[in-house]
């Protein structure tokens, strides 16, 4: 995915990778630290030296200890009624090198080293394994360290994660290292925390769990000297998830999640074989492979995939969203469908459960709306068409009052908001007008100063900065090929992503843009859409220039849902759903009835860029918000919706 605005990747030397990450040894630091380690009585001063010597000022130190460990694993041969020791060598994150002595590595440890996108780190590795190792963070670090870190030495690897996601790290100096357990997980969080795994709504989650898939050849791992073992004989006989194996008598502790939660599973295939991870009873939505986001903005433009069985090649990671849906105590198995197991009777399987902890009643989001045609009393509150009102499920109030910002009707100069998006966190409002309107002047001139044109156009989207009280142009319709006036490219529904700069909208009228704005970069196909479609403008420069060069996409093809002459006049986008309202009645009246003012949801929407496969929802179109609660007469008055 594109980096959020303002995040710059450090480039320090010639071994910078094309993806912006780099790996370099801080040799001066290493030398000082090795020398210090030799003089063990000076360990305390080493820590001081680490903070001051050799590292780039901006880098953050993280400490990783590599050392032998011993795990106690349920014995499949006894059905889990007893345990058996498994020798291994592993990594463990520590606060400083001083903590290495007491740190205990865990077999198949799912606890990730947590980094932040765009921040530069020194990953300081303390080697207490008894043999030389290195650290290779697959997908994060660049050229492999072929020199390695000598036993008892410390080395530092600099990394600046360019993209959020889940990564595998390991010692790759010798193939035996990973087989012995020298592996771990790095999770890179988005530069701007937003409740998602990748800075994209498709990866929004409320609970997460790393699932490390690994395996053990007991004769190899428990050998006196694994380095003299013949790898031709390597044959796993113990199969693990997060370092544990399921047996009939000893289950791996379940992942507890609430019904309704979006559970993020971060699969890390640390085994030496391909694995197929299945969740029984729930679908898995892949939002990333190997840190590459599947929201259409990644390098290869992949979109989320709905699968049952996630095929992970050895070394691969996948981030998947599972929406938990069940009653308290329900269990859904996560298991490797390759059905590797140590013994019959479910003994030694790679299997663990998702258990429903509680059922959280879905909280209906606040509904923001604007009206068409002058003022109207809604639930006892007068709302005008230049206002944005908020309905919290009980009461309605004015959230954005147009008149107090200069949106005042004067003669034929009528202000009517017909598209709105509200960021409930900041209070910022994005909106478009039903028709052109003279820019407010006088007392309001300062607030509107950033808007260059003297007349606000119906094909533009404006942003109201709630904190500053000022307005600006978010999307200039004429810059992306929307014409004003006769062609009726009035934007009448909008949803924005303030981080990516992507604007999703609908228009009143048909679009056929032959010049300059192809359907998709390089495709040579003229972009065309109609008023029953939901469109998306994806700017190359992201939020820095939402109107800048980019490309169109049809996000939702209304024809696929029986919409033809109907005009879609409100758009709301969530992580998984496309919601809309119509300006006319729904053509095929279902039960319950969809009215022209209602907000209709396509759950789990998937859209193709174009082609033979139509848009799909995971369920029939559903009523998201029934406007009858505000005005039972169904007068067709709501022409803009947002949810928060």
């Amino acid at each position: 995915m594109a980096q959020p605005d303002g995040v710059q990747v450090m480039t320090m030397s010639s071994n910078t990778r094309t993806d912006g990450t780099m790996r370099t040894k801080n040799t001066s630091s290493i030398r000082s630290r090795i020398a210090a380690l030799v003089a063990t009585s000076l360990l305390a001063s080493v820590t001081v030296a680490a903070a001051t010597a050799g590292t780039a000022a901006a880098a953050t130190d993280r400490w990783i200890c590599a050392k032998p460990g011993s795990a106690s694993v349920a014995d499949p041969a006894t059905g889990g009624t007893s345990t058996m020791p498994v020798a291994f060598t592993g990594f463990v994150e520590v606060a400083s090198d001083l903590d290495c002595a007491t740190a205990i590595p865990q077999l198949g440890d799912p606890t990730p080293i947590r980094l932040t996108q765009g921040v530069t780190y020194n990953l300081n590795v303390v080697n207490q394994t008894g043999f030389p190792i290195n650290l290779t963070a697959v997908g994060l670090t660049g050229a492999p360290d072929l020199t390695g870190i000598a036993d008892t030495a410390i080395d530092s690897y600099e990394v600046t994660p360019a993209e959020p996601g889940t990564y595998l790290y390991e010692s790759s100096l010798d193939p035996r290292h990973a087989l012995l357990g020298l592996q771990g997980v790095i999770v890179v969080d988005p530069a701007v925390p937003d409740g998602s795994a990748h800075g994209s709504p498709v990866s929004d989650y409320s609970t997460e769990q790393v699932v490390v898939i690994s395996e053990i050849d007991l004769s190899f791992s428990n050998a006196v000297d694994p380095f003299v073992e013949d790898l031709r004989n390597f044959k796993p006989d113990l199969y693990l998830l997060n370092g544990q194996t399921h047996t009939a008598g000893s289950a791996i502790p379940p992942i507890v999640a609430d019904s309704g939660e979006r559970l993020l599973l971060r699969y890390v295939n640390a085994s030496s074989d391909n694995s197929t991870m299945t969740v029984l009873g729930l679908r898995q939505i892949i939002v990333a492979f190997d840190g590459e986001i599947f929201d259409g903005t990644g390098a290869v433009g992949e979109l989320p995939r709905n699968e049952s069985n996630i095929f992970l090649t050895a070394g691969q990671t996948a981030d998947v969203i599972v929406t938990v849906d069940g009653a308290i105590g329900d269990r859904f198995a996560i298991h490797n469908r390759n059905l590797r197991t140590s013994a019959t009777g479910n003994n030694g399987e790679q299997l663990m459960m998702i258990e429903v902890g509680s059922v959280v009643a879905p909280v209906a989001p606040d509904v923001y709306l604007s009206l068409n045609n002058s003022a109207r009393s809604l639930a006892g509150v007068v709302v005008r068409d230049e206002d944005v009102a908020i309905w919290d499920g009980t009461t309605i109030s004015i959230f954005f009052e147009g008149e107090s910002h200069g949106l005042i009707d004067v003669g034929p100069n009528i202000a009517d908001i017909d598209a709105v998006h509200v960021d409930p966190t900041t209070g910022d409002v994005w909106f478009s007008l039903r028709q052109d309107f003279d820019k407010p002047t006088g007392a309001f001139a300062a607030a509107w100063a950033a808007v260059p044109d003297a007349r606000l156009q119906e094909n533009d989207i404006f942003k109201f900065d709630s904190a500053a009280g000022t307005f600006s142009v978010w999307l200039d319709g004429s810059e992306i090929g929307l014409s004003d006036g006769l062609n009726r490219h009035d934007i009448n529904g909008v949803s924005v992503d303030p981080v990516s700069g992507v604007t999703t909208f609908s228009v009143n009228g048909c679009i056929l843009i032959a010049d300059g704005v192809p359907y998709m970069t390089g495709s040579g196909v003229t972009f065309g859409a109609r008023n029953e479609d939901v469109l998306r403008w994806i700017p190359v420069s992201g939020a820095a220039d939402p109107s800048g060069p980019g490309q169109f996409k049809v996000l939702f093809d209304g024809t696929d849902f029986g919409l033809g002459p109907e005009n879609l006049d409100a758009v709301v986008i969530s992580a998984t759903d496309v919601m809309f309202s119509l300006s006319t009645e729904f053509p095929n009246i279902p039960t319950p009835e969809f009215d022209r003012d209602d907000l209709i949801a396509c759950r789990g929407h998937q859209s193709p860029p174009l082609g033979s496969i139509t848009d799909t929802c995971t369920a029939p179109l559903a009523l998201q918000f029934d406007a009858d609660i505000l005005h039972p007469t169904n007068a067709g008055q709501v022409d803009a919706y947002s949810l928060g």
Binding site: L303, R305, E307, S308, G345, P608, A619
Partner: protein
Amino acid sequence: MKLPIRSKLAGILSVAVMAGGLAAGLSSGAPASANGGNSTIRCETGGVGTGGAVEFNLEARDGYISFPDGNTIYTWSYALAGAPYHQFPGPTLCVDEGDQVRVNLTNPPHGDNLSGGIPADFTSILFPGQTGVTATGGTAGLLTQEVDAGVPGDMVTYEFTASAPGTYLYESGTDQAVQVQMGLFGGLIVYPSAGRGFVYDGVNFDTENEYLLIFHEMDPGLHVGVELNSLAGLTGDAVLGDYDPVSRHNRYWTINGRAFPDVIAPNDTPILPTQPYGGLVQINADDPDDAFTQLPALVRYANAGLDNHPFHPHGNSLRIIAQDARPFPDEIEAYTETVAAGQTYDLLAEWNDVEAWQGSDAPIGITLPALDNTIFKGGVTFYSGDADLGQQQQLPIDVTTFSTCGEYYFPWHSHALQEIQNFDEGFGGMLTLWRVDPPKEYDANADQWLSPTACR
């Protein structure tokens, strides 16, 4: 982007060469032909149960299956209640989107290894990919309710709404590493609300050419152990004896429960009474000279095995449109797809203007060696004697051809090549053929498109 199409000549020659290799093991005769393929999907549609549910009555049964090398293997599988034999794989269950589906499972008394119940204490069915499955009756197991062999007549009822169209598997949810390996699995098809001519809403196909290919693999050593223990009267855990999943070493790889060349024998061939489903993929070429546009054939992959299988046809690429019963955001054109354990794929197969083929106007310009310079190993071939589709020429008098109407044959197989053999005898295993017939012809009297008479 269309991928480079493999040379047809190479495909023809490879089949011609291969024919010699398979002749000795061909136990099922030449593929017959119908208007559509003779291995088209064969659906069980169930009955109407209480509340209008589509209801299937399945039994866990045991019995034997045959392999082209003459081996006979003891397996467990499902059968429709009351069927004379178990069938491997289990019956293909076909329902429509929105149907309430009810499957009643029993495990009849175990007999003499000839299609009684299975000698396991418990068994069950999972429906991977479905949501909201309920299970009632029986005993609580690890993953679902299980039928208890110790309770006469014990039955578990599984029920769900077929909420999304596509290709699914069903399989045992009890001690899966054993019971799925032994053969307890089958296919489940959910047709979209648009109708049975569609794979997903908006995507239709030639209903005469719809195929389901279920993959599986087995270690006969494990099966023999269970067989002998069963014959010795053991049941439950004891019947497994020293069954060791870690030492599993596959010797047979199957498509629809058959190994090649049995795979290309038609559905319900009498020589394979417990393996009723064929796997020959047969389509009609689309004649670009004609305004009629041939709908694509639909091929459904479903990997019920424990291993992942890279699977591909020769001769053309495919349109891969869905995985695990969910359409891809954008279809993929490719020929090799690794079908991981448990996964399903839906693919559209077409033969459109391949290598500028234009029927009689522009036959494919391939110069083949003179027949008297060609060796037909074993004296059999799939070659028609003519490089052009739909054409046949005289072959040497000592050569037998399987060609019926000048059709093409291409291999379609696992490219984990150790899997296309039968206990070290090849070609065999997880291999089928792609039969390409000449374009259909319009029959004005019948007002329908029919395969050329010679091909029927």
